[in-house]
């Protein structure tokens, strides 16, 4: 995982699995978590991801709480977060926490473009882009 990985956080197991499957198909390495708490645990175990796809409405710890906890660590400050949410207030929440936003139901190309864009912008920053993410 030297080249970085994408963290997928969603309480819907089918959607979570599907996104991981798609990202894998597109050459990204990704790990999923069922809620914010699980996501923090995953980061603790695997280190900082280079992109986070984050649902908002989740049990135990929701997306906003997670992002606050995640951002509280200075080195996580520049890791992009893309909110995927069907929530009415999803876009406002995304703006508040400084994240991109994709409204559910998410278009596949929009998702891939966003992931790709975030990935590219990260690559342009040497200190933050140690290697290509594509597997």
């Amino acid at each position: 995982m030297n080249e970085g990985w994408i963290l997928v956080v969603d309480d819907d197991p089918d959607l979570r699995d599907l996104i991981v499957l798609l990202l894998t198909g597109e050459g990204y390495r990704s790990i999923s978590a069922a809620d914010g708490q699980a996501a923090l645990e995953t980061i603790a175990a695997h280190g900082c991801p280079r992109l986070i796809l984050l649902d908002l409405r989740m049990p135990r710890m929701d997306g906003e709480a997670f992002s606050q906890a995640f951002r509280s660590c200075a080195e996580h400050d520049r890791v992009p977060i893309i909110i995927l949410s069907g929530d009415c207030i999803g876009r406002a929440t995304a703006a508040r926490i400084g994240a991109s936003f994709l409204a559910k139901p998410v278009d596949l190309h929009a998702l891939l473009t966003a992931v790709d864009g975030s990935h590219a912008s990260l690559l342009s920053e040497p200190q933050r882009a140690p290697a290509a993410a594509r597997e």
Binding site: D11, D12, P13, D14, L15, D17, L18, I19, L21, L22, G25, E26, L56, R57, M58, P59, R60, D62, E64, L84, S85, G86, D87, C88, I89, A103, K104, P105, V106, D107, L108, H109, L111
Partner: protein, 867 residues
């Protein structure tokens, strides 16, 4: 010596003696001395005012010897002695500077003599004796003396009254000539004729010009006794007549005055027991003047009311006994039945030995005055009653500052002690008022101004320290157009003012309470109410569980709030007053839609005691607060329901967008061949599940819609609860395995009841789904058993649990025990469960605590009881 017309006979002497009122009386005043002696020369009669120096007084002379009487004038004694011997002597006597003519005549028959001494000093020069002297003598008499012959021819005339008839003109003429008539009935002629017939007589004669004379006529006899003419004396009676007339007139005036004044005079002759009265007395008693009153007893029975008689009798017997002057009042009844009121005063008259002779007195008819006094009394009484019955305090002060009238209400209102008002000094009363007023100086100034301007009418309001308010009216008191004082009228308008202020308070309260921010509004109202209801105010709210919660306690600044412990009655919803630590307290419940939601309480100032008015005001404030609080609560709940609905729509959108995202991504990936063929079956499974999930959501929404819109339709049949449990566990095995929770099914292997199978499945499914969702991956138990005619289904998880205050809400639509941000699902499951259980006639209960998991217990009757 002068020969007399005839010696004075013994019979004449008797006549002279008998008729002292005639000549004797005249002679008594004559400027002469006349002395008659008997045969032994002892003085029988003496008279005349002359020669006092010659003799002692007549009384001293009587019975004494002439020689003794005339000791200093022995010649007079000698003359009497000679006359008694039959001589007729005349001589001149000189006494000092006066000269007298003395004549002594014998008295025939009985013997004795008469001595006449005349002061002849003035006529001394005349030196004529006999008839001229007699004429002179008679001239001095204040009367007329004349003599006639048998034909009534005037032979002699003399005396002062005859001056108008000079002897020269008259002597020789007949009386007929003088009166110019021969009518024998003419009084003068008739009386002369009567005398000629031998009858001496007396009469009063009215001359010209209202001149009156008392005339005495005697027959004149010769020595042989034959009547030879008349001798007449006329004395002027004009003065007497006038006096008599004046007396009569003044009597008449007195009578008139008595009649006009209704004053009657009366006498009760005690000796003869006879009552007499003046004319007016009779009139007063309503009887004809002159009516015989009769005895006192007769008067009593005739004129006095039976009930008054003993008193009157008593009064009069007391008067006689005490002999003092008296005055008394009594009533009489007149013969015509009219009752009169009399005032009597008088005096007892007694003889020299103190023996009562008579009661004299006067009686005044005071009926009119008495009636007037009664009327005045009635008017005064009416005025007094009116003064006292008015609710206003009244005071009348004259222009010198003296209180002339006040009523009791005034004294009460101003709390002025009777001794101050009885001093009648307005200044003293004002001083008492000073201590009670909020602005004594202002009040005094206004009062002073009014006293300085007596004609002003004015109105003012007077505020007291104790909160009372009086309206003051003042206007001048006039008597016949002149201002004599000032009338003050005070009306206690405290209650009216308080009512007005209370109305304003309630209006302000309503205005404040219109705010939806109700708690600050209620506190503001409490601040407004404190001036009316006391030192402190507290509002306690009663939650469904636990004790009262004090929302606020406010107080006047100088006294810290005294917070009463609410008594049971207030907690039970009744307004009341009570004592707490010696302070009067008041509490009224806040009741909204028949539910007690709180209590408003006040604590009074130390010396105040709450009354019914205060209770009413407190209750009204509480009522308005209740309404406002309830309205705010309703609004809040409506708002919350709206928020919940909005939230639900968001959630529903979110929950539908989740599967939609999966489906869209799956379809796009499959279409574009972005996934390896190996993963296709898995992706299709995802699609299948997501479609089911969406279908379930839609079903759930439709269920809620149906359940909310009316009665739940049941397709009843025999259903085995244990079988449904197993079936649903099987159907949800995938969800279970994903959640990480294990499921144990226990209880009766078969528990059959009459239920709607599909709906029973919904109940079990929702409870299981709920347990899986919130079970935190911990074991879940589902148990069924029968309790009598009821089937008991228990679903227990060991997850996060539900706080007590949220437990009721979770059975409501669009409610969830936890934030909707955290969990998927529409949150309608438990609502659907409850509605179905209700429709089955059962109950659903929750036992839970945070961190302790949740246990849902459903009780269902196994047999449908037809209602």
């Amino acid at each position: 010596m002068v020969q007399s017309e005839g010696a004075v006979s013994g019979g004449a002497r008797e006549r002279i003696q008998n008729e002292k009122s005639g000549l004797g009386a005249i002679l008594a005043h004559a400027p002469a001395l006349i002395v008659a002696v008997d045969g032994s020369l002892r003085v029988e009669q003496a008279g005349g005012r002359a020669l006092r120096s010659l003799t002692p007084g007549p009384m001293e002379m009587r019975g004494r010897l002439a020689s003794d009487v005339f000791r200093r004038r022995p010649e007079l004694a000698r003359m009497l002695e000679a006359a008694a011997a039959g001589e007729d002597l005349t001589s001149m006597i000189r006494v000092d500077e006066r000269r007298f003519v003395a004549r002594a005549l014998p008295l025939e028959g009985a013997g004795g003599a008469v001595l006449v001494c005349l002061d002849a000093t003035e006529n001394y020069e005349m030196q004529r004796y006999g008839e001229p002297e007699l004429r002179l003598l008679l001239k001095q008499v204040p009367a007329s003396v004349w003599a006639t012959d048998k034909d009534l021819r005037i032979t002699h005339i003399a005396g002062q009254l005859a001056e108008r008839f000079p002897a020269a003109d008259v002597v020789g003429k007949t009386l007929y000539d003088l009166v110019e008539t021969r009518d024998p009935t003419h009084p003068l002629i008739a009386h002369h004729l009567e005398a000629l017939a031998g009858a001496p007589n007396h009469f009063r004669f009215e001359g010209k010009g209202r001149e009156f004379f008392d005339v005495h006529i005697e027959p004149r006899r010769s020595t042989s006794g034959e009547i030879v003419g008349c001798l007449a004396v006329a004395v002027s009676a004009t003065d007497t007549v006038r006096r008599e007339e004046e007396l009569t007139e003044s009597r008449a005036r007195l009578e008139e005055a008595q009649r006009v004044a209704h004053v009657g005079c009366w006498t009760w002759d005690l000796i003869h027991d006879r009552v007499d009265g003046s004319d007016e007395t009779y009139r007063i008693f309503g009887v004809e003047p002159g009516t015989n009153f009769g005895s006192f007893k007769e008067v009593l029975e005739r004129f006095f009311l039976p009930e008054d008689r003993p008193h009157v009798e008593n009064v009069f017997s007391n008067i006689i006994r005490t002999a003092g002057p008296y005055r008394t009042d009594y009533r009489i009844i007149r013969p015509d039945g009219e009752v009169r009121r009399l005032h009597a005063r008088g005096q007892l008259v007694s003889d020299a030995h103190g023996r009562p002779l008579r009661l004299v007195g006067c009686t005044i008819d005071v009926t009119e005055r008495w009636n007037a006094e009664q009327e005045r009394e009635r008017s005064l009484s009416l005025l007094r009653a009116t003064l006292e019955s008015t609710a206003d305090g009244l005071l009348v002060v004259d222009r010198k500052g003296t209180i002339t009238a006040f009523n009791q209400r005034f004294a009460e209102m101003w709390r002025i002690p009777p001794r101050v008002l009885e001093s009648y000094e307005d200044a003293a009363a004002l001083a008492i008022a000073d201590d009670q007023l909020q602005d004594p100086e202002g009040f005094r100034t206004r009062v002073r101004d009014l006293y300085d301007q007596p004609e002003i009418e004015s109105y003012d309001a007077v505020a007291f320290k104790d909160g009372r308010v009086f309206e003051r009216y003042s206007r001048p008191q006039r008597l016949g157009g002149e201002i004599v004082g000032r009338v003050w009228s005070f009306r206690d308008v405290t209650v009216r003012e308080q009512l007005l202020k209370r109305v304003l308070l309630l209006a302000d309260a309503s205005r404040l309470l219109a705010s939806l921010d109700v708690e600050p509004a209620m506190e503001a109202v409490a601040h407004l109410a404190i001036p009316f209801l006391g030192e402190s105010c507290a509002l306690d709210l009663f939650a469904a569980e636990g004790g009262p919660r004090r929302l606020f306690a406010v107080s006047t600044e100088r006294v810290p709030p005294v917070l009463p412990v609410l008594p049971r009655a207030a907690l039970a919803g009744h307004p009341l007053t009570f004592e707490d630590q010696g302070r009067s307290c008041i509490a009224a419940p806040l009741v909204a839609r028949e539910t007690l939601i709180g209590a408003l309480s006040f604590v009074a100032a130390v010396d105040r005691r709450y009354g019914p008015d205060d209770l009413e005001l407190c209750e009204e404030l509480a009522r308005r607060m209740s309404l406002a609080y309830d309205n705010a609560q309703l609004f809040r709940r409506a708002q919350e329901a709206l928020d919940a609905r909005d939230e639900f729509i968001c959630i529903a959108a979110h929950e539908l967008r989740g599967p939609a995202t999966s489906l869209r991504l799956a379809i796009q990936s499959l279409r574009e061949g972005r996934l390896s063929p190996a993963t296709s079956p898995k992706v299709l499974e995802v699609c299948d599940r997501q479609v089911k999930q969406m279908t379930n959501f839609v079903e759930e929404l439709l269920d809620v819609s149906r359940l909310r819109s009316g009665a739940v339709h049941l397709d009843l049949e025999q259903v085995d609860l244990a079988e449904v449990m197993r079936d649903m566990a099987s159907r949800m095995s995938a969800d279970l395995s994903r959640s990480g929770s294990s499921l144990s099914i226990a209880g009766d292997a078969r528990l059959v009841g009459t239920w709607d199978r599909f709906k029973l499945e919904q109940v079990v499914g929702n409870l299981l789904s709920n347990a899986i969702k919130f079970g935190a991956g911990k074991p879940i138990e589902i148990i069924d058993h029968a309790e009598g005619s009821r089937a008991i289904l228990t679903v227990r998880d060991h997850g996060m649990g539900i706080p007590v205050d949220r437990q009721a809400a979770i059975f409501q639509p669009f409610e969830r025990a936890v934030s909707s941000r955290h969990y998927g699902g529409l949150g309608l499951g438990l609502y659907i469960c409850r509605r179905i259980v209700d429709a089955f006639g059962g109950e659903i209960h929750l036992e839970s605590a945070p961190g302790q998991g949740s246990t849902f217990r459903v009780e269902l009757p196994t047999q449908r009881s037809e209602q």
